[in-house]
Amino acid sequence: MASRGYRGRPEGGDTYAGKVLRVDLGGMSSWTEPLNRDWARLFFGGKGLGFRYFHDAVPAGTDPLSPGNALIFVTGPLTGTLAPCTGKLGVVTRSPATGTILDCSVGGTVGPQLKYAGYDLVVITGRAPHPVVLVIDDDRVSFREANGVWGRGCHETEFLLRDALGAEFRIISTGPAGENLVPMACLTSELYRQAGRGGVGAVMGSKHLKAVAVRGTGSLAAPDMGRFLEFAHRAMREDLLTDTNLWAYTDGTPMIVGLSQSAGILPTRNFQSGTFAGAEAIGAEAVRSLRVAKKSCFGCGLGCGNFLRAPAVGAAGAGAGAWPAGGSRGEAGAAPGRGGEAGAGPRWPGEGAVEGPEYETLALTGSNCGIGDLGAIIEFNRLCDDLGLDTISTGGVVAFAMELAERDLADLGLRFGDVDSYLRAPVLIARGEGVGRQLGRGVRYLAERYGGKEFAMEVKGLEFPGYEPRGSWGMGLAYATSDRGACHMRAWPVADEAFGSLDPFTGEGKAQLVINGQHQNSIKFSLIFCDFWALSPELMAGFCSVALGREVTADELRLAGERIWNLGRLLNVREGFRREHDYLPARVLEHPLPDGPAAGRVVPPEVFRAMLEEYYRLRGWDEDGVPTPAKLAELGLEGL
C-alpha cells in the first residue's frame, strides 16, 4: 500500500516519534502532546518512561480496576529502527493482582506500528461507557464498538478486527479473562505474544477496552543514517548473531527445562520437588520434534518463536471443555479438544500451530502440575493465550489447588497429573465459573481461604516463575525484591548460580548480583532490548549515541537503570509496600528439597535476612526498604 504518513525524513533529529497520545475513555476523546524530552533523557522509554508518566498520571491509592488507573503503552527510543530486537511494546499500569506498579512487555509488531503511527506512548485513562476498540490509524484515532468481539477469544478477535479494519493493522487485545476482571489476565498480540503478568488484561477489561488496533505508515530516522546503519549492522553480525544468543533460535527457552532439571530447580508438583520424572517428555528435544515453523518479532535477528503442531492430547482424551462465554464460534458447549479427530483441520484461529510453550509454561503448567504430556501442555498454552490468561500464574494456581487436594485441605477438582481437569481450568478461570472464580483470584487468596500459606508460592500476590530458589539462593532474593512480585525478569541470578559457576548455596555476594541484574534489566527494558540479547551496557550506549544525536555512556545508562529501579520502589512505597512485603514463602525457607542436586537445601532464614539487609544497605535504602532522601537526590528523583 502507499505510504500515507510522512513524506521523506521526519523532523526531530533522533529516533523518538516525539508525540504522546492521551486517551480518555470516559469522554471517548483523545489528544496528542509533545513527548516530555526531560523525562525521555532521564528514563529513555519503555519501563522507565512508562513509570514516569504513570507517576504523573495516577495518584497514590488509585484502585487498579477503577477508571483512574492508567494503562500505558510505551515504545523505546530504538523501536521501529534497525537496532535488532527492539520491537517490543512496554505496558505499564498498577497491578490488580499485587497492588504494585507493573510493567510487562510484549513482542510482535504492534510496538513498531505505534511508533510509525507517530507515538512514543499511549496513556489511557477512564472507562468507556460500553465496550470499545481503540483504532489508531496514523494520526486518525477513533473508537469502534466492540460488540462483535467482546466475549470472544483473543485469537478470533484479531482475525475479526483485521478482516474489518485491514490486514496491515496490528492488534493487542484482552480476552474473556480480562473482560471478567480476572487478576491473572494478560494481553495477547499476534496470537501468541503476551504481556503476561500481574493482570494487565483485567485493567484493560475494566476500562471496557477490548483491543487496540494500530496501523502506522510514517517514517523514523536517525540523525546520521549512515553511522547508525553501520553500527547496527556490525552489532548484529558480531554480537547478536553469536553463540551467546543463538540458543534462542536453535531451541528457544525450552532448552532451560534440561538445565533446570540438571540443577534440581525444575518446579515440580507445586515446588514440592526440584526434579521431574517426565522432564525429557517436556524438554527441548520433545518440543523440537513437533516444530513446524520459526517466527520472529518485528526487527529481531534471533527468532525465538517455535510453532508446534500439537499431537492429540494423551490417553485422557480431549476436553478443554466449552469455549469461552458467548461462544467463540457462537456455540458455547462445543468442545474444542483435539482427541479422536485425526486429520481434521484447524477449527479455531490459532489451532493450526501453537507458538510455545516457552520454558515458564513448560515448568509451571507442566512439571509443576505433574503433567508430562506435552500435547496437554500445548493445549493449555493455547487456551490461556486465547482466553487471555498468564500461563505462569494460571499454572501456579492450578498446582496450588492440586496440592490443596493432595493434603485434604480443599477439593477444587484438580489432581496432580490429571489432564482432564487440568485442561478445564483455564476456561473456568477465564469465565469466572464454578471453582474458576476462586482459582482466578490467585494462590494468595486460596491460601487465605483454605490454608496452605506455607506452600503458597507467591510474593506480593504474584505466583512464582520457573526457578526453585532453594537450589539458587540469589533467585530467592530476586523474587522477594522484584518490583512486581515473584518475577524472573528483573534479575536472573540463576544464570550465574545454578546454571553457572557461582556457588548457589550461599548468600555471599548475591545482593550485589541481584542489584546489578535489576539495573541492567531496568535500562534494557526501558531502551526496549529483548531479554534474549545478552548485550553489554557499552553496546546499548553505542546504540543510544547513534540514535539520539548525543553521546551516551554506559555509566549514564547504569545510573538510569538505578534511577528507574528506585522510581519503581517509590511507586510501591507510596502504596504501603515495605520490608515485610519482601518475603519468601515458608516452603523455601523451612522445608528442605527432597531430591536432586539441591536435596536437603532450604534458603536458611538467617541467610535470607542477611541478603535482604545487605541489599537495602547497598541500595541506600533504610532498613524498612524505603529509598533515603540522599539516594533520591543522587538519582534526580527528589520531590517524587
Partner: protein
C-alpha cells in the same frame, strides 16, 4: 528456459522468520528512513488458520513497468532494472501495473537490486537467517514461441 535480463530476489521460505529487517534495510539504505512501507519488497509471515505462512512479494523481472512507462524512464542496465528520475514524470503507471505491488510512489522508487551498493543488496545483507538472495531470473519459454 531463458534467463531474464535482470537480477531478482528470491527467498528460501523455510529459513525466513518474518522479522522484516529486509524491508527496513531496503527503505533505510535507499531513502534514509526507517519505514517498512517504503520498501520495494514485501516479506511477511502472518498467522493463518494453518499456522505462520511466509508471503513474499518482490520484482520478478517481468518488465511490465518498462512496457507501460510512457517516458522510457525505466530500463535495464548491466543486469539491473533502473529508473531515470530525469525522465520520470511520477505518473505512477508503473506502480499501478506492477503485478507484485512493489514499486513505490511519492517519491518514485523500484527495486534495482541495489546496483552499485557496496556489499550487495541491503535486504540480503541484513537478513539474519540467509533466507534472501539475488540471482538471475529464469523464464520459461512461452509455448507459443
Amino acid at each position: 528456459m531463458a534467463v531474464k535480463p535482470v537480477a531478482i530476489l528470491s527467498i528460501d521460505g523455510s529459513r525466513c522468520t518474518g522479522c522484516q529487517m529486509c524491508m527496513l534495510a531496503c527503505a533505510a539504505a535507499r531513502e534514509g528512513v526507517f519505514n517498512p512501507f517504503r520498501a520495494t519488497l514485501r516479506v511477511e509471515k502472518p498467522y493463518t488458520y494453518a499456522g505462520p505462512e511466509v508471503r513474499f512479494s518482490a520484482c520478478d523481472g517481468c518488465l511490465t513497468c518498462q512496457e507501460v512507462c510512457p517516458t522510457e524512464a525505466i530500463g535495464v542496465r548491466d543486469g539491473h532494472l533502473y529508473l531515470d528520475l530525469d525522465l520520470c514524470t511520477e505518473c505512477g503507471l508503473c506502480a499501478g501495473s506492477c503485478p507484485h505491488g512493489v514499486i513505490r510512489t511519492d517519491p518514485m522508487r523500484l527495486c534495482d537490486g541495489c546496483a552499485g551498493r557496496e556489499g550487495g543488496p541491503a535486504c540480503v545483507a541484513w537478513c539474519p537467517v540467509e533466507a534472501l538472495s539475488l540471482g538471475q531470473a529464469v523464464e520459461e519459454v512461452s509455448p507459443r514461441g
